[in-house]
Structures are given as C-alpha cells and as structure tokens.
Symmetry: C2
Subunit: 340 residues, 2 copies
C-alpha cells in the first residue's frame, strides 16, 4: 500500500493525503479524519526511503561504532542501548550503527551526514578535545555527547554524570573514616570521565592535605583481570592503600579477588568503593561483602539521550545545553574505619 493507491482509493490527490497524514493545516478536519482512518485500516506506512529522499529526514539516530580486533566494546554499551531503545521505540525512531575502523571514524561521520542517513547522532566515550565533537559541530547535524570533552573552544550539548563530585564525595567519606592512603583504580585515562574521577578524588584528598602518589593511581581498561592486577600492585607496594576507589564493577570483581588472594579482607584491611552503572546482571549488594558505590543508571542516561536527540531533531531543543546528573553515594558494608 503506497500513497498513490491510498489516495486513489480515497479519491483524493496524493498531496491532500500526504498533508492530512502529516498534520498540515490546509486540509479540512473531516478529510483528515477520513484519511487517517483509511490509512490505519489499510496499514499504510509511508516508505521511509522515499520520504527520506524527499525530505532529507531519516527517522533514525546514528551511532558510529568503532570496531576491530583491538576494540573491546563493553557491557556498558548494551545497557545504554537498552535505555536508548526504550525511548526510541515509543517514538518510531530506529537506530543505525555504523561500524568503523578506529582510524576512519571521521570519514564515517562525514558519510552518514552527507547522505542524510540519520537525523542525529550521539557520541560516547568522549576524550578531551574530542575531534568527533568538533566535527559534528562543524557538520551541523544534531548530536549529543554522552559524557564530556574538554578544551574545545565552543559549547556543545551533552549529558553527563557528575563524576568529579561523585568521586570527591566517596573519597571524602573514606577520609572521614580515617583513611589517608586512598588509591584509585580508574578506567583508561584518555577518556574524560576517568579524568574527572581522578580530579574528584584528588580534590577530596587535597582538601585534607593529602596527596595521590603515582603508585596509587592506576588507569587501565576496565576488565576483571586488570582490576586484579592493579590491586595486587597496589597492595604489594610498601605504601599500600587502606582504601580503594574503583571505576567499575567489573574491575571490582578482580579487586575483591586480589584482596582475598593476598589474605586480606574487606573492609577490615581495605575499604572499597566502586562506581556502579546499574547492571541487572551484576549488583553491588551481591558482592561477598556488599559494595559501597557511587551509582548512576547508564540505562536511564540512554533513554534521556534519546529523548533529547528527538527533541533536537524536531527543533524543540537547540543550542549547547549541558546536563549533569548527580550521582548517588550508596553506603554498604565494604567500607570501615582505617586499620590502625
């Protein structure tokens, strides 16, 4: 069933039918009713390719997905996607993933914009002075950054959580508990979120006249294995920390394993706070010692990004609007006063 058939069936022109369907005012309410009715009854759906060709609107939001042997997509992505999908579904938006070699991201962005394949895109895992953001700004397509970049000479729209405050808060709590040697096991520090977290932690330390020596800061990809290694390294050092803040629940699995392997225990020997993105399949309260966390649902962020993207597509949202979500600090059994 296409427009032509439908309009013929209604003895109306394609113009009128199209207008009726798209809510243009030049058509009487009665006609509109009739048209919409018939459309629904016959399950008419405008052909997206044709519509896109005519309007340039795609009804899709895009994501340029780096792939390749060396690129590990992490489980965060799928949670984010769930949220995005939740919203997108209710607004008839599809999602296009454009797989790209890491060194061809720019080309891909240019392509999908030039071809009008998508109406908007989102950018994840931004780095400082992220070139993708500059490019998108330049290309003029609606976009939102999930996270933040830094050091760009213009404002941009983003959604981020307050990583700095979260880790500052967490660290402050540890300090109040008497910890002076706090370590940070962070994600890859080429990413802004990691930088922010480090900053927050350092601020809290500094506020109490404490420092974060290099050997107490580890920045690595967030895997269980890396968490394990990092922790061993930390705890086998002369100046071992009595508290660890960890950027990911996955890493924390490794952290806990290392602590146990070393014959130590949580929180008696080491206090632990981790960041929790809220996965249904791995919960901090279910760790052998329930984990204190800074918590923020990455899924909710996905939904919100979709919502804002939709708003931008339809022109409801414009300009460089930044949104920073506060992060919960959830206290559970994994923290205690510093050992004497």
């Amino acid at each position: 069933m296409n427009l032509k058939q439908l309009s013929h069936m209604l003895s109306l022109s394609q113009t009128t039918v199209s207008r009726a369907l798209n809510g243009y005012p030049e058509v009487s309410e009665e006609t509109r009713r009739r048209v919409m009715d018939a459309a629904k009854r016959h399950g008419y759906r405008p052909n997206p390719s044709a519509r896109r060709l005519a309007t340039g609107k795609a009804g899709m939001i895009g994501y340029v997905m780096p792939t390749g042997a060396s690129v590990d997509m992490d489980p965060h992505f799928v949670e984010f996607l769930s949220g995005l999908g939740d919203y997108a579904r209710s607004h008839d938006l599809d999602l296009v993933l454009s797989p790209t070699a890491a060194d061809e991201e720019e080309t891909t962005y240019r392509r999908i914009v030039a071809n009008k394949q998508v109406d908007a895109v989102y950018v994840s895992s931004p780095r400082p002075a992220d070139r993708r953001v500059a490019l998108l700004e330049h290309l003029g397509i609606p976009y939102i950054v999930h996270g933040r970049t830094e050091g760009l000479d213009f404002e941009y729209p983003f959604l981020d959580i307050d990583n700095e405050a979260a880790f500052q808060e967490a660290t402050r709590l540890l300090i109040q508990l008497g910890h002076t040697k706090v370590a940070l096991i962070n994600g890859d520090d080429s990413q802004t979120f990691a930088i922010h977290r480090e900053r927050g932690l350092k601020k809290a330390l500094a506020a109490s006249g404490l420092k974060l020596p290099a050997h107490r800061l580890i920045s690595v990809a967030m895997t269980e294995e890396n968490g394990y290694r990092a922790t061993r390294r930390l705890l086998e050092h002369d100046e071992a920390p009595t508290a660890i803040v960890c950027s990911s629940l996955f890493m924390t699995l490794g952290v806990v394993r290392a602590i146990r392997d070393l014959g130590l225990s949580v929180p008696a020997d080491v206090s632990l706070i981790a960041h929790d993105d809220v996965f249904p399949w791995l919960k901090p309260e279910n760790f052998s010692v329930p984990l204190s966390t800074t918590r923020s649902s990455i899924r909710a962020a996905g939904a919100r990004v979709a919502e804002r993207l939709a708003a931008r597509i339809s022109g409801l949202e414009t300009g460089p609007r930044g949104e920073i979500w506060p992060v919960d600090l959830v206290v559970r059994g994994s923290i205690a006063g510093a050992p004497a």
Copy 2:
C-alpha cells in the same frame, strides 16, 4: 557531489556513469576507468536513500530489538554485535536496530520488510517453534537465526554452536571423575539453547544410568544473583550435587560466591564447569579457582552471521543451510574427583 554533477563533469550521461560505477558490461573499459577515477577523486558516494528507492536494496542488516522495562539485554549481545560489526564494516553494511515492545515484534518485522529498510535480518535467542522464524520465512527476506528453533515444519538457515554435545561432553567428564550427582544451572528454559544443554547433560547422565532429578535442575535468567540463589538451593538440599554445570560465566560468579559462603570449596567439595562465550572483560582462567569451561566465541559467531547474511543478500548463499559449531572443552582447576 551527485550523479548528475559527476556525469556532467565527465560529459557522459548519468546512465553511463551509473553503469560504469556498478560494473555493468555495456561500457568500455577506458570509460569505466575514467569514471571511477573521477568518482574517487571527487569523493562521490551514491546517495543510499536514492539508491534504495530505485533498487530496493538497503545496504543494511536489521535486528529487531525487544526493549522495555522488563527486558534485560545482556552482555552477550554486545559481543555478538562486535563480531557482526567487524565484518559489516569491511563490507559497507550498516546495522539497523529497531527497538520494539515485546508484544509487537511481528509488526516490526513486517514493517521493516515491507519498507525494504534492510536487506536481511538476524534473529537471536530463538525459542522452540519460534514465530519470528516462521514469519521471516513467510515474508521471504534473507535471514539467519543465531541459535536454533525446533518443531517448525520447514528448514531454515541458522548458525548455532553444539550446545548439546558440549554439555554432554562436560558431563561425561564429570562422570568419569566419579561424580554421580551433577546439577545444571541453566538459562531460561524457554530458549532453545537451554533446552539443548539440558538435553546434553541428561544424555550423558543416562549413558551412565544416572538421572537428573528436578531439584538438581534450575533454569533462570543468567545473572550473578540467580547463580548465587540457585547454588544455595542446590547445595542446601539433602541430595546436594558434587558437581555443577553452569550455563553462563556471569551466573558462575554467583555460584562461586555461594559455594564460598557455605564454607565449601572448589573443586574439593564441588566441581564446576561453566559455559564461556569468551568475553574480554571476564575470563574463566581468572576465577579464584580457574574455571573449566565449554568455550565458544560469540563474537566469532557474530562475524560469521554477518558474513553469511552478506552472502545471502548477494545471492551467494541460498536455501536452509544450518551451521553447527563444535564447542571446545577447556579443562582447568575447577574440577576434580568426586568427594568420597
């Protein structure tokens, strides 16, 4: 830069340029060379919407993604996607995710097919007599099922791993080690893979005259928490198993925690074999006791599905071709002879 401009610039008709670019024979080699050259030099890329409108080919592969509060997408998906993306990238295929309410999947499939939004789709997490498969067969769009369904009255193309053999093998090994009380912590048994695994395990048991009593079989969503609960239930039973086979590494995290909580140990009290889909961020060798596993890379499966989908799109692969991958059985420290 569009076809018109390019052809004008070459003083050729759009027809000829189009043909030259698409490898049709009615154009001299010299002209073709010239055209291709100019196209490359000016970075000409045919507009996909237009091409799609004209040909009906989309250059995309689709996935209907169930979403909603109650739907938990799991980390397997992202690994599979990575693999798919790896291949898709090298063949200029994009990926469309169509988010759908669980009860509207059929509508969505019909829509994307009717609109020719995608050239092919893949189906994941199939259940027995899966209606989606029947629908796709009926609609006549190229597709591949990742996994298997059962009880359909026609053949269909799929890629699956040999879950039955894998779990049979694993169980046989446990039996050889003297275990007679083997338990299975399985995924949701509405899905075929879970059924196959159960079948494999039962076969191995039966071959030795053993049975799988109901209290030793647990089928639940594959989360850490469920793994924990299941294990407690199993081990607190009078007839507690001495060996557990577990369908997922995530669950196994919970399994190990439960065993420890109960003051038992692996493998002295309980032997453990889990299925490993090969995640970069969680490796079986890094469990406190290295885990024996049945192993098959879900990422590789993703790549292969993409490859076959591409082959189907271009007509190189046809008919109901099934592909079943053998599964490695990797022995590590988590299994030992049954306790006396």
